[in-house]
C-alpha cells in the first residue's frame, strides 16, 4: 500500500516539483535580478506607456467579455432550459466554437473584420455603411472587435454552466411559487436568480480569470496594434521578453499578471467555500 503511494509520489513529485520549481525558479530568476539591479525592473513600469495601455486594455477586455458572456450565456440558458429536440440542437450549435483553437477563431474573424471582409460586405449590401470600416485597424473598434470574437467563441461555455445551475433548481420551488400566484418575472427574480448566485459567482470569476490570460486572439488578430490599442498584458510580456529580450522586465509583467490571477483565484475560492457553508 505505501509502495503505491511511493510510486505515485515518485512519478507525481518530479512533475509537481516542476510546477513548483517553475514558480520558485521564476521567483528565483526574478529575485536574482532583484539582487542584481534592485527594484530597477519595477521602476521601469511607471514610465512604460505601453504597459499602462496594455493594463487598461486588459481591464476593458476582461470587463467587456465578462459582462457580455454572462448576460448572453444566462439568457441563452434560461431560454434553452428544456429538452425539446430543437433546443438541444441549438445548444450544440452554440457550443461548437468552444471547441476551436483561439488561433483558428482569430484567423476566421480577422477575415470577417477585414475592410474587405464579410462584415463590411453585409453592412454595405444592407446600405448601412458607404465606406468600409477598418474594424481591426481603427483605434476604437479594434478592441471591441476582439471582444466580439471572444464572446462569440465562449458564450456556449457560459451557457452550459448556467444550464447546469438551472437544472439543479428543484421543480417544486417553481410550483410553489406558481401556487402563491407569482408571475414569471417574480419567479425569476425571487427563485431563479437567488439560487443561481453560486453558479453566477463561479462563471463570472472564471471569465475574469480567463480574460486576464488573453493572448492568442490578440496575437493573431492585431498583434496588439494599431499603435498598441489592443495591447494586453500577455502580448506586452511576449514582446518585451521574446522580441526585445528584456527578460527581467518581462518577469515584472509576469509577476503582475500572476498577482491579478491570484487575487481572482483567491476570491473565487473564498466565495465558493462560503457558498458551500
Amino acid at each position: 500500500m505505501p509502495a503505491l503511494l511511493f510510486f505515485a509520489a515518485f512519478l507525481v513529485y518530479p512533475l509537481l516539483h516542476t510546477v513548483y520549481l517553475s514558480l520558485t525558479e521564476w521567483a528565483g530568476f526574478d529575485l536574482k535580478k532583484i539582487t542584481f539591479v534592485g527594484f530597477d525592473n519595477f521602476k521601469l513600469i511607471p514610465p512604460d506607456w505601453i504597459f499602462w495601455k496594455a493594463m487598461r486594455n486588459t481591464l476593458y477586455f476582461v470587463l467587456g467579455t465578462t459582462v457580455f458572456l454572462n448576460l448572453l450565456g444566462l439568457a441563452l440558458a434560461l431560454f434553452l432550459n428544456n429538452s425539446a429536440r430543437f433546443t438541444r440542437l441549438v445548444r450544440t450549435l452554440v457550443f461548437i466554437p468552444v471547441l476551436l483553437s483561439p488561433v483558428i477563431v482569430g484567423v476566421m474573424w480577422s477575415r470577417i473584420f477585414d475592410p474587405f471582409g464579410a462584415l463590411n460586405q453585409i453592412l454595405e449590401s444592407l446600405g448601412l455603411i458607404k465606406t468600409p470600416i477598418f474594424w481591426l485597424g481603427d483605434r476604437r473598434m479594434a478592441l471591441l472587435s476582439i471582444i466580439g470574437a471572444t464572446v462569440w467563441q465562449w458564450v456556449g461555455y457560459d451557457m452550459i454552466l448556467y444550464l447546469t445551475g438551472l437544472q439543479q433548481i428543484p421543480e417544486e420551488l417553481y410550483e410553489a411559487a406558481m401556487i402563491d400566484g407569482a408571475n414569471r418575472w417574480h419567479v425569476f427574480r425571487r427563485v431563479t436568480l437567488p439560487l443561481l448566485k453560486g453558479v453566477a459567482t463561479m462563471v463570472i470569476l472564471l471569465n475574469l480569470i480567463g480574460g486576464v490570460r488573453i493572448f492568442d486572439l490578440v496575437y493573431v488578430m492585431t498583434k496588439g496594434g494599431p499603435n498598441h490599442n489592443t495591447e494586453v498584458l500577455a502580448t506586452h510580456l511576449y514582446e518585451v521578453a521574446f522580441w526585445f529580450n528584456k527578460m527581467g522586465y518581462a518577469s515584472v509583467i509576469a509577476v503582475i499578471i500572476l498577482a491579478i490571477s491570484l487575487v481572482f483565484a483567491y476570491s473565487r475560492n473564498r466565495l465558493m467555500s462560503e457558498e458551500k457553508a
Binding site: 512533475l15 431560454f79 477575415r111 474587405f116 490570460r213 500572476l258
Partner: protein
Amino acid sequence: MPRRPSFGRNLLWVLILLWIVVILFPFVWVLSLSIRTQQEVFSAILIPKTARLANYLDAWTKFGFTTLFKNSVVVSLSSVAITVFISALAGYGFSKFRLKGSNFLFHLILSGVMIPPVAVVIPLFVFMKRLGLFNSYPSIVIPYIVFGLPISTFIFKSYIQNIDNDILDAARIDGCGEFGIFLRILFPIIKPAVATVTIFTFMTNWNEFLLAVIFLHNQGLYTLPLGMSVFVGQYSAPWQLIGAGVVISIAPVLVLFFVLQNQFIRGLTAGAVRG
C-alpha cells in the same frame, strides 16, 4: 414553467434565431470562401458559381498540413497519455491512502490551477534552454503535462473517492499487488473519469498556442494552431486557401464532437466546477 404571452415568446425566438445566425455565419462564410476562385474572394456572395475543391489540395500542400497534423497528434497524444496515467495514479493515492502531508501535497498540486501559463513562461524558457530541450517536442509536452496535472488529479481524486473500498480490499485479499489493483480493478471502474480528463486535456493541448509559439521555432515542429498563425501571417496567403485551411483544421474536431457530444461537453466544462 409558466408561459409568457406569445408576443414576448416570439420576440425571444427571433433573438435566439438571430444568435444562431451569428454563431453559424462565420462557419458558413469560411466554407463558402474555401471553394471560391481567386476572383470571387472579395465579392459579397455566399454560394460561389463553381465549387473549386482544388483549393483544399492547394491549402494542404501550402500549409503543410501533413506535418502540422502529425506534430499536433504526437504532442497532444503523448501529453494526454502521460497526464492521464500520472494523475489517475495520484488521484488513487490521494483518495485511498492517508499519509502525513498528503493533504498538503494535494492542495499544493491543486493550487497549480491558479497559475496562468503566461506567468511562468520566462523561467520555463530559461529552463528548457538549459536542458537543451528548447525547440523540441518535449519543450511543450512537459509543460502541457505539468499544466494538465492539477485539474486531472482533482477529477480523479473526486471520482475515486466515491468508489467502495470493499472491491479494492477483496482484490487485496486475493493477493493482487497495489499496482495490479490500479490497472486491473480500478482502471475499468474509472473509465468515465478517464474520458473526461482525456477530452479536457486533449482539447486544451490540441488548441494550445502560447507555449508552442515560444518554444517551437522549427517549421518541422509546428503544431496546427502555430502553423496556421504563422502561414496566414507570413505569406499573406490567398483568402480561399485560408478558408480551406480553416475548414481542414476544424473538421476533425467537429467530427469527433458530433460522435461524442455529451462526453465533450462534460469534459470541456469539467475544468470549471473544481472546488
